[in-house]
């Protein structure tokens, strides 16, 4: 999906390309077709294309609003006692390969409890309860 959008009014006059001070617009005439191109890394969002466009074809507003794009979505592993988010499976895998052993899926607080429970003089019934 392109950030720079034109509506059906565009007639391919290329005034926007000529007037872009950042050289962020280009075009390609090939196979009998004209393709308008835009490079977001060059675009300064100055709005010059929008101002010069004789067809009022350039949709500029969404470039100024700013939206968050989802980049990646990963599964999560939670503390098995309180449900606190710990890490992704890939993170766990990386950690365990470095440790050369499996790790308990516990948050720092419950690790602290579990470790302290090993030091109890005698075993109480509910050692991992908080």
């Amino acid at each position: 999906m392109s950030y720079f959008r034109v509506n059906d009014n565009c007639n391919g006059c290329l005034a926007c390309v000529e007037n872009c001070p950042a050289s962020a617009l280009g075009f390609d005439d090939q196979g009998g077709r004209r393709t308008l191109k835009h490079n977001m890394t060059k675009c300064a969002r100055c709005g010059q294309c929008w101002r010069v466009c004789p067809q009022r074809a350039i949709e500029f507003q969404h470039l100024l609003v700013g939206e968050w794009d989802d980049v990646i979505a990963l599964d999560l592993i939670h503390c098995r006692l309180c449900g606190e988010v710990l890490y992704s499976p890939a993170f766990q895998q990386k950690m365990e390969s470095k440790l050369n052993s499996a790790s308990e899926t516990l948050c720092p607080k419950h690790r602290q409890y579990a470790a302290a429970a090993k030091m109890l003089p005698s075993k109480p019934g509910e050692e991992n309860k908080t």
Binding site: P108, K118, M119
Partner: protein, 162 residues
């Protein structure tokens, strides 16, 4: 090199007053805030057992092993496991790896923190009136139980390998 000294704990002496937590946060952050303390008292109120927990300065430290930036090293003088905050990128793998929950994340400052033995003068020890927390040479007998517990815990977690 001086003999290696460790923070040792004697659960039977701890009254659960949490003074250690307070002086720790005051020493390192200038505020009385137990959530920023590097030592924390784990409590079993129904049986009256209190155990102060802090970094064990493990010889085979998981935090040091997993750090992708090699930002955790062993201090030459105190032999404490130490963070180099200039190298730390905040991935929190050390937090996830520590079997004692002793490496923690400071949400406000966006960085990890752990006990650094107050550069050789642990304030928790100084203010522990019952000497439940002490700072002494590793050869001392009272560390026996703690190290045994640490070992059995490490063994137990290894058994969980899938």
């Amino acid at each position: 090199m001086m003999a290696k000294k460790l923070l040792t704990i004697d659960p039977e002496k701890c009254t659960g007053c949490r003074n250690c937590e307070l002086v720790c946060s005051v020493r390192h952050y200038g505020v009385s805030n137990p959530s920023l303390a590097r030592i924390q008292v784990v409590k079993w109120e129904h049986i009256g057992v209190y155990i102060p927990m802090s970094c064990q300065q493990c010889e085979d430290a998981p935090c040091l092993e997993v750090c992708p930036q090699d930002a955790i090293y062993r201090d030459e003088v105190l032999e404490s496991v130490t963070i180099n905050h200039d190298l730390c990128i905040g991935c929190k793998m050390c937090v996830a790896a520590c079997p004692f929950g002793a490496m923690r994340w400071n949400t406000g400052r966006g960085r990890v923190f752990k006990c650094n033995l107050c550069d050789g003068d642990p304030q928790c020890v100084r203010f522990c009136y019952t000497r439940a927390v002490d700072y002494q040479a590793t050869s001392n007998v009272s560390t026996g139980r703690m190290r045994q517990a640490a070992k059995s815990y490490a063994r137990a977690t290894r058994h969980h390998k899938r």
